[in-house]
Symmetry: C2
Subunit: 401 residues, 2 copies
């Protein structure tokens, strides 16, 4: 009998392709989702550029194509604790993959309502999973999508380590080496909840020996994986709006519809990236190689780092787009260089897909193909207030270059 995997948030941007990838590999996949991401689109009056199908149609099409069954449970894991507990007891899963969090930094900063929703949802979701795993008494590996953002967006004098670092401290007897966690940073409320998650993993790992992997993921780019490309009914979500669209996606749609590429600040902020196909492979690698150490395993799920201007220039080369600079709503260093130690996943067998490999596909098969579904009003920044001193009004300021 094949093993059970529960994918919390399995209808979302990372969750859906992960569900298909693991189902394709022969795991019995159960998706748990409250469909909130689709409902947030209603609130924000946004929609995926790609025409995603309802979850029941997605699952039916997958069965028709492959004969493989994916189960779906509509549960709000931040609230319905007993349903999670019963599901874990029933399925005795090898792993729970936890994507079920409000996952956009700008969304988490729109207003007090969104700050509070993000904190309540994310902390309770993570805690309920861990608490239920302990109560179930079943040995489940919890695989969580963290973010490189909790490692900080400042230039560091070394590769950012995978969670922990040996440091020298001054003691009574001179210098000694101690292992310290790499400091947790929180550039937004969203990031803050991911930092808080890490403390929960450390507690449940230490107190109850729960196996936990925290995958500190870079910004995911790309829309499709091998499985989601099998049929248009399986197509993955692709957000381009200023709340959920990542910089790269927004640059792609902007260049396609002949809108200037909007860079906040001077574009010298460096970020880490990974392709969605690599994301699903990393999840697989984490599940198939559970941690054995008596510690939370942290893996930097990153394949390359670029600054935003560099990204914009890559797209400009392919599309001849114009670049415009706007005031940065984030309180962050105007310029930084980022480097990650990603040896953990490389050693487990990850083969990196680079931006240079995949950008043209994104332009031709996603941005250009679905550009008529784009609401141009959503590609600019809106009235999201990151802090009380910065008002985002969408007015461009002088090009600093």
């Amino acid at each position: 009998m094949s093993e059970n995997i529960i994918i919390m948030g399995g209808d979302g941007f990372c969750g859906w392709p992960t569900s298909l990838h693991l189902s394709n590999l022969g795991y019995n996949v159960t998706i748990v989702d409250n469909l909130i991401r689709r409902k947030i689109d209603v609130d924000l009056e946004c929609d995926s550029l790609t025409p995603i199908k309802p979850i029941s149609q997605r699952i039916k099409k997958w069965y028709d194509l492959t004969g493989k069954t994916i189960k779906f449970e509509k549960i709000d894991i931040s609230l319905q604790y007993n349903k999670i507990l019963n599901l874990i007891k029933e399925l005795k899963p090898k792993a729970i993959v936890h994507f079920a969090e409000q996952r956009a930094a700008p969304t988490s900063m729109i207003s007090s309502y969104w700050k509070r929703y993000t904190v309540e949802n994310n902390t309770n979701a993570t805690h309920n999973i861990l608490c239920a795993v302990v109560e179930s008494g079943i040995d489940v590996h919890v695989v969580h999508l963290g973010t490189t953002g909790t490692a900080g967006y400042v230039t560091t004098p070394m590769d950012i380590p995978e969670g922990y670092l040996d440091v020298k401290v001054q003691t009574d007897k001179g210098e000694e080496i101690m292992e310290f966690p790499w400091p947790l940073h929180s550039p937004s409320i969203y990031h803050m909840t991911k930092s808080m998650d890490f403390l929960m993993f450390e507690f449940y790992n230490n107190n109850d020996n729960i196996k936990c992997t925290d995958l500190r993921q870079g910004i995911v780019w790309g829309c499709q994986t091998k499985e989601t490309m099998m049929d248009e009914n399986l197509i993955n979500r692709w957000d381009y709006d200023h709340w959920y669209g990542t910089a790269l996606n927004r640059f792609l749609i902007q260049s396609t519809i002949k809108h200037p590429i909007t860079i906040y600040g001077r574009g010298l902020q460096t970020r880490a990236f990974i392709h969605i196909q690599n994301t699903v492979e990393c999840i697989q690698l984490a599940i198939e190689n559970p941690p054995i150490k008596d510690k939370v395993r942290v893996l930097n799920q990153v394949t390359e780092c670029h600054n935003l201007l560099n990204l914009a220039n890559k797209i400009k080369l392919l599309t001849d787009a114009e670049i415009k600079y706007y005031k940065n709503p984030r309180k962050e260093a105007p310029e930084n260089k980022l480097r990650f130690d990603n040896s953990g996943l490389l050693k487990l067998g990850l083969n990196s897909i680079t931006l240079d490999d995949g950008l043209l596909y994104e332009i031709n098969e996603i941005a250009k193909k679905y550009k008529d579904r784009c609401d141009i009003s959503k590609v600019m920044v809106d009235n999201c207030t990151w802090n009380k001193n910065i008002k985002i009004d969408g007015i461009g300021y002088d090009n600093p270059q």
Copy 2:
């Protein structure tokens, strides 16, 4: 006009004497409390050894004695966000003192229900305060009761610093000095929420320049302060049960009722302590000296450290009690030495009250005076399960000495 102070959790063990102390100093004190601590006593079938009066009677007696008015708002700050926001806008307080958290480690470990209650209540309470301060636009100093427990209960080769430590790290160019936060530890779910709180303070301090002081307090001992001693109607809470009673209080009541002193493990675990009178003075010092640095201010609110056996022996000397050893429900080092840098509060003017100064008062004026109110069944450990490998059955094991 005197300045407003809001005391969140102002009906509790630390909150009530702090409210009286600040009111006595001339501040306009508003207590916010949902009275949950009294209601938890109903659930756990426990009660304060001291006969505490309802909040309205306490406040009336204070007014009759001093002519000073303390206001009371019954608000659940983990849920009623808009009420907090409106109160902050109305009062424009100089400081908010935040005690409004489930504050017992054993209680937080009773069951999934209590774990989840502690996480939901504590994280939402802290986040709602910070979010409301930002939304109000008012420059409020948030003073939070943290715990020395988040600094860890292992022997360290130096005094535990006040939040941050310079360490040497290996970089591309050799060794460099970086400032790291002292690692956040979570010996229980309760402690975990205090660690999570700290990340919220760091975020709101960094993003919105909110002035935050995290007072990492040792175990508070003593029942009374100068103000609560003024009249029996003002008497402070004194818990002796296995959920809310600290080791010292349980030892005191056990020795008074001729029950053996119950030590978990060998009693060589060291803890930090502070007297309740010093607690209220530390809060005052924090309020009157708000932080100016662009960073969360951490102060170790500690006056002395002892191991549990040392405490028990102090009481044994005064009462001729017997000591018995029980299996330790906590997953912790069986022996540790703890040392804290508490120079921050000492420099601000704190005069330490030592255990040797006050133990006799606790025995004669609290434990002996109210011993007839003691329910002996509550002084032993109950069915609280700290982790799945340790069952607490209350059966003594061999005396290790």
